[in-house]
Amino acid sequence: MELEAAKMIGAGLAAISLAGAGVGIGIIFGNYLSGAMRNPSAAQKQFPNLLLGFALAEATGLFGLVVALIILFAF
């Protein structure tokens, strides 16, 4: 296989990390909603934690993007 083609395939494979980020964000928002439905008075207090968890989960998917960019441009 040529190096250029292998690079493209590798960069594409790195996009699989988005699946994990998607699952993580889904779990965070789903659990927040079910918790907020059970106890709405406590929901507002946990909203910053929700945003923090969202940002942390989203970032792990973006690490995959960084891997893809390193494969494409750094080698």
Binding site: L51, A55, L56, E58, A59, L62, F63, L65, V66
Partner: protein
């Protein structure tokens, strides 16, 4: 060249070339936008604290909101011992926020979408917090790597994992901010390119996507500045109040 979504991240020189012993110190568009953010923050806070009224005006109200927001965040996450570090965390948050927000303006440059900027901030935080930890607790700070209540058999493994996770903090902190900003801006430009290539007939769909994405990006710009500041607070909490 304008259709390349990566073109927006290119750094180019503005004005004369300045070289001191082989290192390029020239003024670039990155330094220009960093300067613009710093000046904006300065003017904004100067106007906000200019006339200290009992009933605040609009700008004073926003400045007070910033202050209260950060003060509450620090006392919630790092406790009262972290009070002396308020100016540093406030500066960090406001600088990252303004860099992100000024980057959202069309034809501007996002300073935080370059890893060198975020990595420098993160390494500075990492070194500062390590020094603070050793100053407060002496060699007892190393207890951070040995959590209590772990079976003796697992202890070597856990300690190695703790040390690796501690050392990877600056990398994860900087890559998180950089990747979020870069991915968001690339996505905006890709959709902008779709609008041009689909033309008058089909371009409306990506245009509406682009508008929605801009809203998301403004949220992300705020959120990432918040996460950057709150993680600094959490690391500071580790250094000030040794829990293990």
């Amino acid at each position: 060249m304008a259709t390349n979504p990566m073109h927006q991240f290119s750094v180019h020189r503005i004005g004369p070339e300045i070289k001191i012993s082989g290192i390029d110190f020239s003024f670039t568009n990155a330094s220009l936008f960093m300067f613009i953010s710093a000046v904006t923050i300065f003017v904004f806070l100067l106007l906000g604290t200019n006339e200290k009224k009992l009933i605040p005006g609009k700008i004073q109200l926003i400045a007070e909101m910033f202050y209260n927001f950060i003060a509450k965040m620090i006392s919630d996450t790092a406790g009262s011992k972290a009070k002396p570090y308020f100016p540093f965390i406030f500066t960090l948050f406001v600088f990252v926020l303004f860099c992100n927000m000024i980057g959202m303006l069309p034809y501007s440059f996002t300073v935080t979408s370059h890893i060198i900027v975020t990595l420098l901030l993160a390494i500075f935080i990492f070194i500062a917090i390590t020094v603070i930890g050793f100053m407060k607790h002496g060699l007892g700070y190393l207890k951070l790597f040995v959590p209590s209540g772990v079976p003796t058999l697992l202890l070597p493994l856990i300690t190695v994992i703790e040390i690796i996770s501690y050392l990877s903090r600056p990398v994860s902190l900087s890559v998180r901010l950089f990747a979020n900003m870069m991915a968001g801006h690339t996505m905006l430009k890709v959709f902008g390119g779709f609008v041009i290539s689909l033309g008058l007939l089909g371009g409306w769909l990506p245009l509406s996507f682009s508008v929605a994405l801009t809203g998301l990006e403004i949220l992300v710009a705020f959120l990432q500045a918040y996460v950057f500041a709150i993680l600094t607070c959490i690391y500071l909490n580790d250094a000030l109040n040794l829990h293990h």
